[in-house]
């Protein structure tokens, strides 16, 4: 058993000096060891991640039996980045007209753009597109497609206009909603897309 009992000042000095020396040596070794493990500078620069599931673009095309087609587009190319969401409308709706509607979801961060609509269609049971309007806007939508369970899906719709009016139309894509449901409020699930267009009927 070795104990470290030092009584005299000389001993103390001697010891501190020795400790210092050993310390110095030890830190040299430590530095060396770290340098050895640390300095392998063979890091290849990482590759960018292309986000495959991101939806950057929503295109709702409404085609009347006769007359002008209406195209509503929402584009947000940087997803949740600070870039602005841009919505455009090719024109206004006509009064008392029936339009065949088809909605597309795209990922335009990839070239060519990825058709997310196909994924939604593939997993129709787990998705539903909702169309909601503000009060006073004379628009009614009905579902024209169904999932395998016979519940509405919403990639294909019929949109019927009434008298001239103004308001907004919101397109919402829900992932894993409760199906069947009585509409957006009771559907639950997670919102993948929700984008609002200001529209007019003339």
């Amino acid at each position: 058993m070795k104990t470290l009992q030092l009584n005299s000042i000389t001993n103390f000095k001697f010891q501190t000096m020795k400790t210092m020396k050993t310390m110095k040596r030890c830190s040299m070794y430590a530095l060396l060891a770290i340098a050895m493990i640390g300095c392998s500078d063979d890091d290849a620069a990482p590759l960018p991640v292309n986000e495959e599931e991101v939806i950057t673009t929503v295109i709702l095309t409404l085609t009347p039996e006769s007359g002008e087609e209406v195209v509503l587009t929402a584009i947000d190319l940087d997803g949740d980045g600070p870039g602005e969401l841009v919505t455009t409308m090719s024109g206004s709706f006509s009064e008392s007209t029936q339009y065949q509607g088809a909605v597309r979801f795209l990922n335009e961060t990839e070239t060519p753009a990825e058709e997310i609509t196909d994924e939604v269609l593939e997993e129709a049971d787990e998705h539903q597109v909702f169309y909601t309007t503000t009060e006073g806007l004379n628009i009614q939508t009905t579902y024209e497609d169904q999932d395998s369970q016979g519940n509405p899906l919403g990639l294909q719709i019929t949109l019927t206009t009434g008298a001239a009016s103004e308001g907004s139309l919101t397109v919402t894509l829900r992932h894993e909603p409760v199906k069947p449901n009585d509409g957006l409020d009771s559907a639950g699930g997670e919102t993948d897309i929700t984008t609002t267009f200001d529209v007019t009927i003339e």
């Binding site: 620069a45 929402a74 994924e119 993948d192």
Partner: protein, 792 residues
């Protein structure tokens, strides 16, 4: 045992009264080698037969002594028994030292002895093995919650992140068997990767005084140590079986140790924890199951003046995250907050679906020491850790089985410490630490990296010493310097890079351009000094600890590089490349009284943190997915102060009343707003009945009252939906709540113990301000746990 001794003391004191002997001896028992305190030693006054035991601080008290000379026989399980002669004159205080052979051999290498103080001038809170055992089916955070001033930031009830006096994450260092855990601790929803069943003792140092562990411990240090191995030829083990009603699951944990008198020892330990969905009082908490598997092994060879030890542990934990908490933007938030029950409730299941976390942590360590005459003890430690964190979100199609986050953090550290006793009164410690850390974010996730790839080099040196002036005063001081170099490869969105104006400031950092993404290579250096100075003053039954410490912390990768949607928080989080280190100044005081019937510890503290990094909402961003609140990290000056109180009163030989109270206040000094997520005041009161004579029975009724947090920054916001304007209240804290718990333990025989623990006895519905899932669901309902512990 202690109670018996107390009883004995009381009986004999009646006798003493008759002689009008009214003197008290307050003693402290120390290890002659390193001055660490010896707990559980028995002191017998040979003339009278009066006995006492040393407490956790190595202190004992013998009352009603006459003014004369006594012989004290002091014995400790791992020391040779020794007789001391002591002359009593009035109130007498004396320190005794024992030769602590056996323990010395085992403990030095195990490090972080339960009783070895890391600091002299900061009061350290301990959780002993027995208390830890009661949390065998919980987590490290749950066990730490039993300490006053320690709370937790929870994500559900299985992700429990310890918080010391209101600070958490990178501000709290966790030392596991001598190794500083590097387990992506920056994330608020990342719990420490430690198996509670592998821990023999826990120590909490509130503040940055323990410089050997690190300089960035603005909040404090948590030291978890493995149980000690005795130096005997022996084979022993322990198995814990526990089963709980809430979550319909349980834990099996076993350990086996073989030790030899020549110093060789081998131990293995493993545990398995499995729970299905937990439940709140009124509904099932869907997708909250947990599946944890751990194993650890240790082999060592310890002699008195040298030793080596190798340790390895594997921690693997799969945790389900409440399904209803995974939501889209503000529109979904309106729905979730408006609903009294979770928006998704399914039937109970053991299967863990998405969202979930899957964390694997490997820790390996080799340590050796050698005593060198005239220098002291030199220890060398190398450790390697790998932390792999997988997070799975709700995704579409072929991606649904793919992790959204896949980070691998590798850390290597080399430490050299020298501990030297310059004289009986002056001891010192020096050390150097070098580290290398690499973070790899797997691009296969198909989701932009949350934390970028980086290499981090760190180097630190420290020196600390303490000087015992006399029986009453001990002085302590320490210095540390940390240097960190971090080499980062980060992909920025071009839009963010320009929006922040980085394009004009840091254009030279851009090394590659890929469409709308830029690869940027910042190389950052941080220089962080820290220092501590303090004193301990002992007088009579009291001790006063006073400490000032300055510590500084380099910003973590999440604070610097966050840039995007944080799904589990339903918000966009933005870091800042330009952050500087934060610096904290803390003054802490502790007054401790160890009386015969009444003990207390009161610890007020005050902290000023310059360049404190916090995250707060700054606006709403409209995206194609809806509206999201934007939270940006920001640096400010913060101020925190508070008080922790512990008291214990013996009501009778078998009955004890235990009280705890914790209070912390935190303010942003620039905005004069309270800081977010500060723990509300809380009080814990227990009535404990123990009867060592009858099956070592112990019954405790515990009342836990958590006040409502009345001080919080208002981060509520309005969101314009097509048909309405909704006000989203995400900041108002939930109401205060009261929980009643019942703990019952008994020994069927000396080797077999049973425990019955009932938490939330009254099945109270409540929400906890510090639970990140409080917006979506109530906290846990009643839980009855039956535990069987068998030693062999």
């Amino acid at each position: 045992m202690r109670l018996l001794a107390l009883l004995f003391l009381l009986i004999s004191s009646i006798h003493s009264f008759a002689q009008e002997c009214n003197n008290t001896l307050n003693g402290t028992l120390l290890d002659i080698h390193d001055g660490s305190v010896l707990t559980g030693a028995t002191i017998v006054v040979t003339q009278t037969g009066v006995a006492a035991q040393t407490d956790l601080d190595g202190n004992f008290t013998i009352n009603f002594l006459c003014e004369s000379t006594y012989q004290l026989q002091i014995s400790h399980p791992s020391c040779s028994t020794k007789i001391f002669t002591v002359t009593i004159q009035g109130k007498t205080q004396k320190t005794f030292k024992l030769e602590h052979h056996l323990e010395l051999l085992n403990e030095i290498i195990v490090d972080g002895k339960t009783t070895n103080r890391a600091t002299k001038s900061i009061y350290e809170n301990l959780v002993d093995q027995q208390t830890i055992t009661t949390y065998s089916s919980g987590s490290l955070g749950d066990a730490l919650n039993s300490i006053s001033g320690v709370s937790s930031l929870n994500t559900g009830n299985t992700v429990v992140k310890p918080m010391i006096n209101g600070l958490h994450s990178s501000r709290v260092l966790i030392i596991n068997n001598g190794v500083q855990m590097q387990d992506q601790e920056w994330g608020a929803e990342h719990a420490p990767s430690i198996d509670i069943n592998s821990v023999g003792s826990l120590k909490v140092i509130k503040g940055a005084g323990a410089l050997q562990y690190g300089g960035s411990a603005i909040g404090g240090v948590i030291v978890a140590s493995a149980p000690k191995v005795p130096l005997l030829d022996s084979l022993y083990g322990r198995t814990i079986l526990s089963s709980s009603s809430n979550g319909l699951g349980g834990v099996v944990s076993s350990s086996l140790t073989k030790s030899y008198q020549n110093g060789l020892h081998v131990s293995v330990q493993g545990s398995l924890k499995r729970f299905g969905d937990f439940n709140a009082p009124n509904y099932n908490l869907s997708n909250t199951g947990v599946f944890e598997r751990n194993i650890s092994a240790k082999i060592g060879f310890n002699r008195i003046d040298y030793g080596v030890e190798a340790y390895y542990s594997l921690f693997k934990n799969e945790i389900g995250i409440l399904r209803a908490s995974h939501i889209g933007g503000a529109e979904d938030q309106v729905r979730a907050l408006g609903s009294l029950v979770p928006t998704i409730i399914k039937d109970f299941t053991y299967s863990i679906g998405n969202p979930r976390q899957d964390v694997t942590h490997h820790l390996g360590r080799i340590k050796g020491f050698k005593d060198i005459e005239n220098i002291g003890r030199i220890s060398l430690q190398y450790d390697y850790q790998q932390n792999n964190r997988l997070e799975f979100d709700i995704r579409r199609g072929s991606n649904s089985g793919r992790a959204s986050l896949d980070l691998v953090l590798d850390t290597q550290t080399l430490t050299i410490d020298v501990a030297t006793e310059i004289s009986e009164k002056l001891s010192a410690k020096f050390g150097v630490v070098g580290g290398l850390q690499t973070n790899y974010a797997n691009p296969e996730t198909g989701i932009r990296r949350l934390i970028p790839d980086y290499d981090k080099y760190s180097f630190a040196g420290y020196a600390s010493g303490d000087f015992t002036i006399n029986q009453k005063w001990v002085l302590e001081a320490g210095l540390r310097f940390d240097y960190t170099h971090i080499n980062v490869f980060k992909f920025y969105r071009r839009s963010f890079w320009e929006d922040r104006g980085y394009n004009s400031q840091f254009s030279d950092l851009v090394i590659e351009e890929y469409g709308n993404q830029l690869l940027v290579n910042p190389k950052l250096d941080f220089y962080n000094p820290s220092l501590t100075i303090g004193t301990k003053y002992s007088f009579g039954l009291y001790k006063l600890f006073a400490n000032y410490s300055m510590s500084s912390r380099a910003p973590n990768p999440s604070e610097q590089f966050s840039e995007g949607l944080h799904h589990s928080a339903s918000r966009i989080e933005l870091g800042d490349l330009q952050f500087t280190s934060e610096t904290a100044h803390k003054i802490s005081l502790t007054l401790q009284k160890r009386g015969e019937r009444f003990d207390f510890t009161v610890s007020p503290f005050a902290t000023e943190i310059d360049d404190f990094i916090l995250i707060e909402p700054t606006g709403i961003r409209q995206t194609i997915r809806g509206n999201f609140q934007v939270w940006e990290y920001r640096q400010t000056n913060a101020q925190m102060y508070g008080l922790d109180l512990d008291a214990s009163l013996s009501l009778s030989d078998n009955m004890r009343f235990v009280h705890q109270f914790s209070l912390v206040k935190g303010y942003d000094k620039t905005s004069n707003e309270p800081l977010i997520s500060m723990p509300p005041a809380s009080t814990l009161n227990s009535l404990v009945y123990t009867n060592p004579g009858f099956k070592n029975l112990s019954i405790a009724i515990q009342s836990n009252y958590v006040f409502r947090q009345n001080e919080f920054p208002n981060t509520n916001f309005e969101v314009v939906l097509p048909e309405s304007i909704e006000y989203i209240d995400i900041s108002t804290p939930p109401a205060g709540y009261h929980l009643l718990n019942l703990n019952l333990t008994a020994a069927i025989n000396p080797d077999m113990k049973v425990g019955l623990y009932v938490n939330n006895l009254l099945n109270t519905s409540y929400r906890n301000y510090l639970n990140r899932l409080r917006y979506y669901a109530d906290d846990l309902g009643r839980n009855i746990t039956l535990q069987l512990k068998y030693n062999y």
